[in-house]
C-alpha cells in the first residue's frame, strides 16, 4: 500500500480542563474519501481545524506526505478546507472567490482564468461567474465553496459538515456529486459530519469519534456489521442490545442466558463461562415469528416507513426491541398490530458480541 497522505500521531488538544481531542492517531490514504463521524462536541471539528492550522495541538504530530505541519502557518499548508458556513467572500463575485487562492499563489492571469473556468465546469456553475454570493441559492453557494477550496488542487481537502446547510433532497444529490468530483480529481477528501447516513453513503472509511477519542476506524460495512462497542453500534444505525450471561462453553459453542428470558447458542468458544456480555442485533436481523422459540414479546406499535416497516416489541423483562422488515412485494404485508403476541429470536450469525 502507498504512503498515507496525512498521518496523525497521538494528536491531543485541551481547552482548559476539557480534552477536546485525546491521543488521536489515524492515516488518510491517497485518493481516499474519509469521514470523521461523531456527535456534536466530540472533537471532530477541532481535529479538522488542527489539520488546517487554526488550532495548535498541545501534543502529537500532523504529518503531511512526510512533512511535519506543526510549524507551518495555515496560509502555507497544502491542505484546503471547505467551511460549514461556506465563508464565501460577500464582496467578491463567484469568479473572484474561486480565483482568490490562485491569486495568492501569484499564478499568471491566463492560468488563473483557465483554472477558474475548469472549476466552474467541474461544479457545473458555468454562467454564474459574475454573481455575488448573496445572489446564489444554498446549493450554489456550496458548489462555489467547493470550487474555491479545490482550485488550488490540494492533496487533501477538508470538508466541515459540507451538507448540513442543504435540504434533504439536495443533500442526497450533493452526496453523489461530491463522490463524483472526488473520483475525478483523485484527491483525498476528509469529511467531518454528525450524520451517519452521510458518512456511510460517501466514505470509503469512517472514523467514529466520541469525547475526543476515536472508537473505531474502518469501511462502512465493517463499522456497521462489526461495531467495536455499544457506542459505535448505537451511533451507526439502530441496534438492539441484549445483556446475556455465558452459562456454558463446549464443542466450539457457547450457551447464553439472555436477560430477556430465553437461552440460545452462539457458535464461538472464546467466551468465559460466567461472564456477562452484550449481544448486539440490528433491527433487520431480528427474527419475529407468531410462534416458536425465543422470547415471548408483545407488539407495542408498528410503523410503516415506505421501504421498511419498524415494529417495537416489549419483552418479558421490560426491554423494548426494534424489528425491521423490508416491505418488498414478495414478502407480503407484515401484519403487526398493537397487542399481538410474538416470538423474538436472534439468528446466531447476526449477533455481535460487544464489550459494552
Amino acid at each position: 500500500m502507498s504512503e498515507p497522505v496525512l498521518r496523525l500521531s497521538r494528536l491531543t488538544k485541551k481547552f482548559g480542563t476539557v480534552t477536546a481531542v485525546d491521543q488521536v492517531s489515524l492515516d488518510i490514504r491517497p485518493g481516499e474519501f474519509f469521514a470523521l463521524l461523531g456527535p456534536s462536541g466530540c472533537g471532530k471539528t477541532t481535529l479538522m481545524r488542527m489539520i488546517a492550522g487554526f488550532e495548535t495541538p498541545d501534543s502529537g504530530v500532523i504529518d503531511l506526505e512526510g512533512r511535519d505541519l506543526s510549524p507551518v502557518p495555515p496560509h502555507r499548508r497544502p491542505v484546503n478546507m471547505m467551511f460549514q458556513s461556506y465563508a464565501l467572500f460577500p464582496h467578491m463575485n463567484v469568479e473572484r472567490n474561486i480565483a482568490f487562492g490562485l491569486v495568492q499563489e501569484g499564478l499568471p492571469k491566463a492560468e488563473i482564468a483557465t483554472r477558474v473556468a475548469d472549476m466552474l465546469d467541474l461544479v457545473q456553475l458555468k454562467g454564474l461567474a459574475a454573481r455575488k454570493p448573496h445572489q446564489l441559492s444554498g446549493g450554489q453557494k456550496q458548489r462555489v465553496a467547493l470550487a474555491r477550496a479545490l482550485a488550488k488542487r490540494p492533496k487533501l481537502l477538508l470538508l466541515d459538515e459540507p451538507l448540513a446547510a442543504l435540504d434533504r433532497k439536495l443533500r442526497e444529490d450533493t452526496q453523489f456529486e461530491l463522490m463524483r468530483i472526488q473520483r475525478e480529481l483523485g484527491a483525498s477528501f476528509m469529511v467531518v459530519t454528525h450524520d451517519q447516513d452521510e458518512a456511510m453513503a460517501m466514505a470509503q472509511r469512517i472514523a467514529v469519534m466520541r469525547a475526543g477519542v476515536i472508537e473505531q476506524i474502518g469501511p462502512p460495512q465493517d463499522v456497521y456489521l462489526q461495531p467495536a462497542n455499544t457506542f459505535v453500534a448505537g451511533f451507526i444505525g439502530k441496534i438492539n442490545l441484549f445483556p446475556a450471561k455465558v452459562v456454558a462453553v463446549a464443542l466450539g459453542r457457547s450457551r447464553l442466558a439472555l436477560d430477556a428470558g430465553f437461552e440460545m447458542n452462539l457458535p464461538r468458544a472464546d467466551l468465559q463461562v460466567g461472564s456477562v456480555i452484550t449481544l448486539a442485533v440490528r433491527p433487520e436481523d431480528l427474527a419475529v415469528e407468531a410462534s416458536g422459540e425465543g422470547a415471548a414479546g408483545q407488539v407495542l406499535d408498528s410503523v410503516f416507513l415506505g421501504e421498511t416497516s419498524l415494529t417495537r416489541i416489549a419483552l418479558p423483562n421490560g426491554q423494548v426491541v426494534q424489528a425491521a422488515r423490508m416491505n418488498a412485494a414478495r414478502n407480503g404485508a407484515w401484519q403487526m398490530k398493537r397487542g399481538d403476541s410474538v416470538r423474538v429470536q436472534i439468528p446466531p450469525a447476526a449477533a455481535r458480541v460487544l464489550a459494552s
Binding site: A52, G53, F54, P73, P74, H75, R76, R77, N80, M81, F83, Q84, S85, A87, L88, F89, P90, H91, F100, G101, Q104, E105, P133, H134, R148, A149, K152
Partner: protein, 264 residues
C-alpha cells in the same frame, strides 16, 4: 397594544421636534435676513453669504477647521480601526478590559478635562501650540468614536471568512487588506465622517490646544458672538449645519448600502 399615531403622539412628537429644531430653523432663516439687525426681519437676501468670503478672518478659520477636521479624522480612522481590530480579534489578551475602558473613557470624560490634560501634555513636552496640536487632540478624541463604530462590525463578522482567506494562502496582512478591510469599510467610512464632524463641532478642546494663527471656525464664531451676533455668523453656521448634515446622511447611506452584506 394599539399602534399608530394618536393625536397625543403627534403633539408630543411636534413638541419634541420643535424643541430640537426651531432654534436651528431660526438661525437658518435669519442667515437669509437682509437686515443688519439680527432679530429684525428685513427681507430675503443672500448677501451675508457673499460677504463671508470677504471676511478674511472667517475664511482663515474655516480653512483651519477643514484642515484639522480632515487630517485628524484620517489619523483617528487609522488608529481607531487598529484599536477596534485589536479588541475584536486578539481574544482575551491581558489588559483587554483595561484597554477597552481606556479607549472608551474619552467619550464620557468632560471635554474641559480632556482639553486641559492635553494642554498640560503639550506644555510639559514644550510643544508649540498651533494647528498640529489641535490635530493631535482631535485625532485622540476621534479615535475613540471610530473604534466604537468599527468594533461591532469587526466583532460581528464571520471569523471563518478570514480563516478561509488564510486557508487559501493569504498571509495575515493580505487577509486583513483583501477581506477584513473591505468588509469593515462601511463602518470605517462612517467612523471617518463621525470623527470629522466631531472635529468640526469642537470648541472646548480646540480652545485649549490651539495657538496663535490656528483659530478654528467654532472658536472664531464664539469670539465674534461675544461682540454681538452678526448675520454673517448665522450664514457660516448655516453652512456648517449643512456640511454636518451631509456627512451624517452619507454615513447613514453607507451603512444602509452595506446592510445586505451582513447576512452573507
Amino acid at each position: 397594544m394599539k399602534r399608530g399615531l394618536t393625536p397625543a403622539h403627534v403633539t408630543f412628537l411636534a413638541f419634541g421636534f420643535a424643541f430640537l429644531y426651531v432654534p436651528i430653523a431660526l438661525l437658518i432663516l435669519f442667515s437669509f435676513n437682509d437686515s443688519r439687525l439680527v432679530t429684525v426681519w428685513g427681507g430675503f437676501s443672500t448677501r451675508w453669504y457673499a460677504s463671508l468670503w470677504s471676511n478674511a478672518q472667517l475664511v482663515a478659520s474655516l480653512r483651519a477647521s477643514l484642515i484639522v477636521a480632515v487630517t485628524s479624522a484620517a489619523i483617528a480612522t487609522a488608529l481607531g480601526t487598529i484599536a477596534a481590530y485589536a479588541l475584536a480579534r486578539f481574544g482575551r489578551f491581558s489588559g483587554r478590559s483595561v484597554f477597552s475602558a481606556i479607549l472608551y473613557a474619552p467619550l464620557v470624560l468632560p471635554e474641559v478635562i480632556t482639553g486641559l490634560s492635553l494642554l498640560l501634555l503639550f506644555v510639559a513636552f514644550g510643544v508649540e501650540r498651533g494647528l498640529t496640536t489641535v490635530i493631535v487632540a482631535h485625532a485622540s478624541i476621534g479615535m475613540c468614536f471610530v473604534a466604537v463604530v468599527v468594533y461591532p462590525r469587526l466583532a460581528g463578522m464571520d471569523r471563518s471568512l478570514e480563516e478561509a482567506a488564510m486557508d487559501l494562502g493569504a498571509t495575515p496582512l493580505r487577509t486583513f487588506l483583501s477581506v477584513t478591510l473591505p468588509l469593515a469599510a462601511p463602518a470605517i467610512a462612517s467612523g471617518f465622517l463621525l470623527a470629522m464632524t466631531i472635529s468640526l463641532d469642537d470648541l472646548v478642546i480646540a480652545s485649549f490646544t490651539s495657538g496663535p494663527g490656528s483659530t478654528t471656525l467654532p472658536m472664531r464664531i464664539y469670539s465674534q458672538v461675544r461682540l454681538g451676533v452678526t448675520p454673517e455668523v448665522n450664514a457660516i453656521s448655516t453652512l456648517m449645519i449643512l456640511f454636518v448634515a451631509v456627512c451624517l446622511l452619507l454615513g447613514v447611506l453607507i451603512t444602509r448600502r452595506a446592510a445586505p452584506d451582513r447576512t452573507a
